[in-house]
Symmetry: C2
Subunit: 461 residues, 2 copies
Amino acid sequence: MSDEIQNPEAERDEAAYSLGRKDVAAILYAVDIDDRETLTRLMEPLHAADIADLLEQINSYDRARLIRLYDREFDGEILTELDESIREEVIAVLNPQILADAVRELESDDVVDLVEDLDEPQQEAILGALDDADRVAVQQALSYPEYSAGRLMQREVVMAPEHWTVGEAIDYIRSSEHLPEQFYHIVLVDPRMHPVGNVTLGRLMGSARKVKLRDIMEDVFQIIPVDQDEGDVAYAFNQYHLISAPVIDENGRLVGVITIDDAMAVLDEEHEEDILRLAGVGESSLSDSIFETTRQRLPWLVVNLGTAILASIVIAQFEGTLQSLVALAILMPIVASMGGNAGTQSLTVAVRAIATRDLTGSNIWRVIRREAAVGLINGLVFAVMMGVVSLIWFGSPALGMVIALAMIINLLVAGLAGIAIPVVMERVGIDPALASGTFVTTVTDVVGFVAFLGMASMVLL
Amino acid sequence: MSDEIQNPEAERDEAAYSLGRKDVAAILYAVDIDDRETLTRLMEPLHAADIADLLEQINSYDRARLIRLYDREFDGEILTELDESIREEVIAVLNPQILADAVRELESDDVVDLVEDLDEPQQEAILGALDDADRVAVQQALSYPEYSAGRLMQREVVMAPEHWTVGEAIDYIRSSEHLPEQFYHIVLVDPRMHPVGNVTLGRLMGSARKVKLRDIMEDVFQIIPVDQDEGDVAYAFNQYHLISAPVIDENGRLVGVITIDDAMAVLDEEHEEDILRLAGVGESSLSDSIFETTRQRLPWLVVNLGTAILASIVIAQFEGTLQSLVALAILMPIVASMGGNAGTQSLTVAVRAIATRDLTGSNIWRVIRREAAVGLINGLVFAVMMGVVSLIWFGSPALGMVIALAMIINLLVAGLAGIAIPVVMERVGIDPALASGTFVTTVTDVVGFVAFLGMASMVLL
């Protein structure tokens, strides 16, 4: 464990990241003094993904100057790696001829990725730069719904009829002019073009020429409908350790393949979405503007303001009680804070378990019982602690008793709300990561204040 | 957006998940009536990963009965897919002979995965079941640090000297008896066994026999040191879209390869860790016991109790103020809650950006300025809202002014603390996801209460 928690930045940077702070400084200096040769030399060892990161990290003024100085070397892959928030800006800065050349180098699925979020005129500029075959491929991909397998798949599939032999398949591959850049399997199809199995290239090469492909094929474990949500695709790859999977249309015909590298990128995006949504932040990136960032965060804060006012209205019902015993005002945030934290723990475990399909109809009641039991135990532990603290602080056994009871009630409710709210949201078709947090803390605030102040007004006054 | 938020469970289940609630019920019924044949038939279409999920979802009593009834069919892969928390239990229930057979089917890197978290006697039982070559391989892997590339890699590498031709490589592969189950590249090595490039199998098959491997090789973009942290390995795969990467020892010699499917599993685990740590939950799974769950969550709640008491001590300094104006007690949770939420938003974006290496020395000051500006704008917006609410509710313009100013101060501080705290934690070598949340809300609670009650005591009394 300890070597995981300890993770000095310096080590990280050297180990798995080729773009250091000094490199960025050197590159910006080359831009400053307009030294194209040095710039090109410094950029040469960088991967397109690193160049995209670099462009995201510098400000808009430096970005434009760098792109203009670097443009002859500009690679289409950099565009696909860029954050959406600055992709349009970069495209607008690029010389149209350079842009056209950059885009023509790309595979059609990368072009889809690139153009799907652009606005009309930029989209057309890019589609216009493609040759006819590629443009048709991109437009077909764009006809599938956003976030579907159809947008994610490669349309170039290496396939063979199931009755072929190893020799026939090898000869076919050797004579093909346009093989996809990366392929790891041959997909076997029946006469109706339904996928029936995979033959890995390793297996193909290791077998005698006269062996039937059918005899060395692996069953296709997962066949992906073209309109399946990309999150489900990523889940299937992760769950079943798939390397590639065939994609079929509504008639069961093979229309493409999805490979694990695309699924991995989607898995990463889905995680990002979950973690940001849990914190009440919409889609966001570090290169978003101040205005854009405010726009993403303000709505959730407004919701939170509403629930905070609700909690205050609850408190206001006990105005008289608070007036006669100010210790209650001092202690009440503790009850609410403990409930909120315990609820968030339980909630996060539930949201994650729903995302990984670990929380199902088969174990939901057992998990609810467990959360209730854990909430009760935690409640008892903190009841004792806070009872003692309050007794020492304010010298009132009755006050200690009230806060102890309120703690037990609130931590039990926190555990139950933390699991029940996301489960209910999922059932009604809302992403449980989206707003559960606010609901859970509202419940724990209200229950905490009512329990604590209500019992206090009965017992202490 | 909308089709992503809408995600009815029913659709998910059918689409990408082969284990439904009804299946589980049917399987448990077969166990109940001791019907081995039906059980085997029902389990037959399930992937090992699904069977592991099934075992995790049912209770311990059913689990033991199911395993005993199913044991002749029990597959080693199920063990590798199981959650650590119940793996030991399942191994203890399995007939030793069945266990030995199951383990012998596995590749050595899967055995490593399986045994690394077991306690001594179970580890020895499994190692004892392996034949000598496999056992040595597993023990060598276990000699690398936990969570390192050495634990993750496959030791079986298909490699070739860089001077070979395509024909020589093909003949070598065809004559090899023990090829790894999955391989996608041949790694070219120089005479000192240093990796110099990759040749994809697709490229190999598409080239003439007399072509030099050197002429069709791709540069190895990322070479992984055997002691590199697995999180950095996963990051590199995701950043550079790697499919496989060579692993070298301290002398630069090739000792293994890591493939993308292993990297994807690590990426998923790292995300899980981040999301759970942000919520103050340690490693956890749904199959953990009540005791285990309490043990994971209690420490963070104790920390939170400490910080909540700190906030209460701050409030206690204004006892007199609260006593004379109870409206302050009613409104003060709103200031704290808004600060806590805004701080968590800013924190989560920062933690995520640190994890994806998007927040670096080059853009840190720009991001801090942005957070400050967003905090200020949000502060102004909610200052106006709360000023108006307080004015209407309590009829006091001065109170409205105080809460408005407190809101501005707290939301500005929240934005800055949300970014500064994780960045500082990362610099001193602590995972920023680990405890930042508690620190940030402590800051916003204390600042919120001091600003609100402090100004109130000066202005209103």
